[in-house]
Amino acid sequence: MTTLPPQNEMADAAQPGRLNRWLESAGDRLNPILVKETRQSLKSRQFTLWFVLLLIGCWVTTIGAIAMVGPSIYYVSAGGYLLYVYYVILALPLVVVTPFSAYRSLSSEHEDNTRDLLEVSSLSPRQVINGKLGSALLQIVIYLSALAPCIAFTYLLRGVDLTTIGLLLAYAVLASIGLSAVGLVIAAATRQKYAQVVMSVGFAGLLFLAYSGLLAAAAAVRGWESRWLHSEENWWLHLALLCLYATSFGVVYTAAISLTTFTAANRSTGLRKAAFIQQAFFVAWIGGAVAAGAPYDGVFVALVVAAVYWFAAGALMSGEAPLLSLRVRRSLPTSLLGRAVRSWFSPGSGSGYVFAVCNVATLALMVVIAVYSTAIPGNFAPAQTAKATFLLVSYFAAYLGLGRLAVDGLRRVTDMSTLGGFLIQVLFALFGSGLPFVIRTLSERVRVADWLAITASSPSWNVPRVLNGELPSDVEITLLIAVGAVAMAVFLVNLAMAGYEARQMRVAIPKRVLEDDRELQPEPESRVTNPWGDRPEPATEASR
């Protein structure tokens, strides 16, 4: 006769099984790249080395600091100094090692020929990027947890408050994640070996610069002079910085995904949306500043920054191929409203141009509103600020549009990548902008300022002069009319060409794809539709 074990013993025996099942189910939901990279990291010498070095650094610092302070530890506020030393140690793996590991992790996929294997798997580009970022985040958590006791120790030593500790750690973590995302963008963009070598060196340099910058910022935050940073009244400053960080991270993250997406797919809309969201936040902050009575000079500076940003983004977007792939055309909007609003987010050279110009024009409008609504006078006359704004937007529309037309023309005779189109547009704008400065440097006999034909092409020459009212009024009017007319003409030509892209219609989804969708997501069983329990007849192929 068999004896059954007592009930509680059976429950205990079932417990590990249930826990295992739960853990396995949780493990199934983890990103495959994250699982693989964690397994690799735990066995890698590099991670072990850095982790051990971090611990040794902390122990040496702690023992050294205690030995130096000695018995005075009970009344000296040494926490701030010690925190800074720990911060110097911690920031190195966070800001240099982790982002560089993320960069290497993706670029080594090219070198080890595993990139192809990832591409032919069912992993989406978003999963690949999330996995790499998740792995970086895990490393950050491990490094932070290794240092947590030391940081708690600094608080006990006095001389540093929790806000400062929190701020410093937040800066380091955000910098690490942001730089890791930048590393992934660089790795995704460079596939050739020589480019990878150059970018490795360049990125390492950038990381050490960021490390120095972070330490400088940490020193400033720790100091008495920056106590205003900790003031509750200045919460908006942290919110603004966080907004800038979050939206920039969104753009970089979307760029990394776009660069790893296959070419026939829509690589552009996500990026445009991310940039548009960033622009919306930017406009909201500028609007808030105008409403709070900020001088319009600052708004004009914001316009200049936005113009440079949108020129780079616009050059990339308007370098895209004008013909949409069948895959993209499957998801084009069909309604009038949808086409009017969403067409500018669809991939394509012309739509990219119009999208960039509209975004800069929105900020220009903000400047004009600021000029005529604020009561606080700025350094520049309101009329001159408005004229300079008009001139800047005109230059923007003209250069971006002419560059796009040039790239479009070259595309008809030769193959050109998006990066090639971008470089041509940037070089074209730099040439036009730098021409008067080059001539002035080369020849002292030519009085460049007297020759409008030489200076007219240069926004960097004319915009500051219009802003300061340095140009004679007749020259100023001629310049405004000429540049405005060229910009309008170029914009209209490009708009007409963008109209061709907008006319591309949605194509039907292939029958095989619809079949596959139905196979993957079978229609739910029809529900009871009345109290008698009747169910509707299943739809037949003919009725569909």
């Binding site: 396995e24 189910s25 199934d28 495959p32 699982v35 693989k36 397994r39 690799q40 066995k43 890698s44 080890d112 020929n113 595993t114 192809d116 294997l117 990832l118 591409e119 032919v120 798997s121 069912s122 992993l123 989406s124 296959f262 070419t263 026939a264 792939s325 069948l326 895959r327 292939p510 029958k511 095989r512 794809v513 079949e515 596959d516 196979e519």
Partner: protein, 341 residues
């Protein structure tokens, strides 16, 4: 090694059955690929049916790998299209990838990973979960004979074991189509035979297999059909017999006769054969007499039978009469005119 039953359901799932409207598992339609001024693939079209092993032969630089990369969604054609189970590799690469297993001619190893972890990663990457994933890994390791090496780091595997692991990775998600680029390269004879057996069993399980190899004798044994590509262009497609039939003008025959009668022994048969209208190059060897029979392909069997009857009628005691057609290597050299690129 396992039974065929394991193959049919490598991941424990039923094999994916293509829909009636899905078209052939593999189809290339007028595919072109230009690299600058080099026309790497020039108007290549062919179809591979379910359960078929299709050999892809060509000299180095002929365009085999490029076509295979296009089919595997790793490259895009300059014009034309290719489809897997009815999905275009240009417009729906994501759907193609879930149905296709690609084994490139390189290994693609991750550092600090053992055999089980390597397969586990790819099973996860193909969306297999929980029990399904475990079963897929176990079946794959069993099928490829890697079950005893599960915890061994992949860096320490031999070339043959790495190829097995590559094949395991390719089949882990039970694809309906497999593209194998030079799977037997660098393997010893035993490993080649084992790989050949595995491929045959995969084909028996209903998978469409496109395979390229330099070892033509092996391809001839496992392929249902072959395509010969040279300078980016397909120059012959069909079964080995069909292709060799098109190019054969002469076949080699070996003959042995009894030496019990001096007037009808081996030395007597040589002048007899030399006088025959369809025979040329008669050579006496230690094993008998070898000669070439010149005939057009449709009349080949009839001519052979007629010659044998004539020999017996002439009083020769024939103990062996063996004909040998052209091997795939002969056909390949003939079709490609022996050029090496």
């Amino acid at each position: 090694m396992t039974t065929n039953a394991t193959v049919t359901a490598a991941s424990g799932r039923p094999l994916r059955t293509p829909k009636a409207s899905s078209g052939p598992p593999i189809e290339l339609r007028h595919v072109h690929r230009w690299f600058g001024s080099t026309h790497a693939v020039n108007d290549v079209s062919f179809i591979v049916e379910k359960g078929e092993v299709f050999g892809y032969i060509g000299p180095n630089g002929a365009g085999k790998t490029t076509s295979m990369r296009i089919l595997s969604t790793l490259d895009e054609p300059s014009s034309g299209d290719a489809s897997v189970d009815g999905f275009s590799v240009i417009d729906d690469p994501d759907r193609v990838r879930s149905r296709l297993g690609f084994m490139p001619d390189y290994f693609g190893a991750y550092q600090n990973v053992n055999v089980w972890e390597y397969l586990d990663f790819f099973a996860r990457a193909y969306g297999l979960r929980g029990t399904e994933r475990r079963r897929a890994i176990e079946s794959t390791m069993d099928f490829t004979g890697l079950d005893e090496l599960a915890r061994k780091p992949i860096d320490g595997l031999s070339k043959g074991m790495k190829q097995r692991l590559c094949l395991g990775r390719t089949m882990i998600h039970d694809p309906s189509v497999m593209v194998l680029d030079e799977p037997a390269a660098g393997l010893d004879p035993r490993a080649r035979i084992e790989l050949r057996e595995m491929i045959s069993r995969l084909a028996e399980a209903g998978k469409a297999i496109l395979i390229s190899s330099h070892i033509l004798t092996e391809l001839a044994e496992i392929c249902d059909r072959v395509a010969i590509i040279e300078r980016g262009q397909l120059i012959a497609v069909g079964t080995v017999d069909e292709i060799s039939g098109c190019v054969e003008e002469e076949i080699t025959v070996r003959l042995r006769v009894t030496n019990d009668r001096a007037s009808h022994d081996q030395t007597a048969v040589i002048p007899w054969l030399s006088r025959h209208a369809h025979v040329k190059t008669v050579v006496a060897t230690k094993e008998g007499v070898t000669f070439h029979l010149v005939t057009e392909q449709p009349q080949r069997d009839a001519t052979l039978a007629g010659l044998l009857a004539e020999l017996i009628g002439a009083g020769f005691g024939v103990t062996e009469f063996t004909s040998r057609g052209k091997s795939l290597e002969d056909v390949f050299l003939h079709v490609t005119k022996g050029r090496v690129q």
